[in-house]
Amino acid sequence: MAELRLLLVDDEAEFLEPTAARLSRRGIACSTVGSGEDALRALRTAPFDCAVVDVRMPGMDGLELLRLIRRDYPAVPVILLTGHASIDLGVRGMDLGAFEYLLKPVDLDELLDTVRRAATEASGRVPPT
């Protein structure tokens, strides 16, 4: 399998940068953006196998971004990642079609595992063109 292309969306640059660095070491091609708007721009210019999205962001929040990705890029699975924990939020995210809902601080191995599962399931579901 080729290198996974992951879009990492979070407004905290200090979280984005080290997380991307660690994922890259483990064979994931990481693109990082700081907002929902930037994420949509990135999706328009390059293909991704998976997106990890922070729920709480200024401007467009994670749930809105999730909705738009599900609508415009249904082949890209979205993993929600948040420090804000509520069952409600999780349920809404899952209802909107999130692949998984993870709580910060997330164990890197768990994140990796989830990203791989998401990409595998997505590629199985949507035949490659």
């Binding site: 080290p18 660690r22 070491r25 420090g83 804000h84 924990a85 509520s86 899952m94 709580l103």
Partner: protein, 550 residues
Amino acid sequence: MREEPSPYRRLRSLMFLVLTAFGLLPLVAMLLGGLAAERRAAGTRARSVLEAMVKNRKATVDLFLEQKMRQLELVAVSVPVSQLARTPVLESTRHEMQREGGAIVDLGLIAADGRHLAYVGPYDLLDKNYTGQPWFEQVMVRGRYQSDVFLGFRQFPHVIMAVKKREEGRDYFLRATLDTDQLSALVREGGLESGADVFVLNRAGEYQTRYADQHRLMEKADLPPPPPHSGVRITEVSRGARRELVATAWLTGDTWVLVARQPVPGLAAVGWGSPVVWIALVGLVLVPSLAYLIARHGLHQIRSLEEERAKLYESVAQSEKLAAIGRLAATTAHEINNPLAIIAAQVGVLQDTIRDTEFLSQYPQLQDRLTKIAGQVERGKIVTHRLLGFSRRIGPLVEPVDVVAALDETLSFVEKEADAARIRFVRDYAPDIPLVRSNLGQMQQVFLNVVNNAIDAVGHDGEVRLGIRCARGGVEVVAADSGPGIAEADLERVFEPFYSTKGGQSRHCGLGLAICREIMRSLGGRISAASISGGGAAFTMWFPMQQESR
């Protein structure tokens, strides 16, 4: 009985008073109306009795007086003066008259010049001359005469009757004295009701007969005679403080009037015999009793409603408190989780980096220290996650849950910690525990809390017994520890928010069991605490087979 708070007592008194008042009002009205009617009836009865009595007495007295007059006239017509002038003849005549009805005290024959021709009787009147006496003139003119009571020559009250006798062109007069005592006896014959009075008055309103001791013959009575009328007339008059019925009947000749009077029958005359009185009395007892019962019952209803409301309010307040705490916790967790995530990521990068470098040989402790930082991040994460009661299992909220597996999985989280403190888990599961429809994550959160509490309570070197069985149409899980137990008074309080027996230095905020109780409620189950005899506490969690949809 519980002492009631004063607003309730006041309300009850008010209800009692109002009910009693409204109950008694018609009763009193009925009683008064009834008594008035009874009194009227008694009055009517008394009037007719009085009327009959007076009519009867008038007839008797009339008859008596008429009879005396007739006797006198008979003697005057039938016996010649020559005979009457003889004392023995007059004496025998008096005897004769005395025998036929008595009442004749003396008898005299008087010539036209007013001198006595003959006299028989107890007084010495033979030499008296009646010329100029009013009665004498009357009888000369009218031929027959009956006097009022007067003193006369003998200075003693008496009544005289006289008739004129004409013989050989000359006038003579036959005069008799009536016994006033006998007349009085005749009037009062047969007796009267108590307080009643019957007597005869002349036109001047002077007593002619005596009934009661206070009647003095010839004295003025305290009521004036009515103008002459026929038959019996009854009037109601005031006499001092009381009302009286006065019946009057003029005797034949309209010179004397027969008067009878008696008090108007009062309430006493109605008496206890009246059903109105009985009904009223029964009502007087019954109405306040019923009012009391109704007031008590009503108050009881009000109180239980109030208490229910208070309970509801309390539980709402409790939920709101928990919700507020939840919101605060969520916000705080977010604020803490983000920096934790950054620390974890940064530490991770460092760990990744030094793994590939020569650094390790120069700083052998670096890897160890980074691991410790990562470990502390993990610890912080556990605290925030536990505080939130967050479950990662996001899925259908209610699903078939294997309680045994859920408990075992939860125990596996804490087994290491328990082992370190030499605390043993003793499982006592009944076979064939059915699946229940519930929320696995929330159920495990409760288990985790209770088991953690049990481990904390034991401290070290002990056991936690875990039982699962079917009970009351659901599944019951019991966690019993060998710790110090819970004081009886605290058994209920342990479920209150911020209640903790673990002391200020502990990492517990005293919310665990409060959250557990809320979760158990939302799952349709129950959680309770008990003390085990011989030490230790037992927490019982019961889950229904089917969680009610909420």
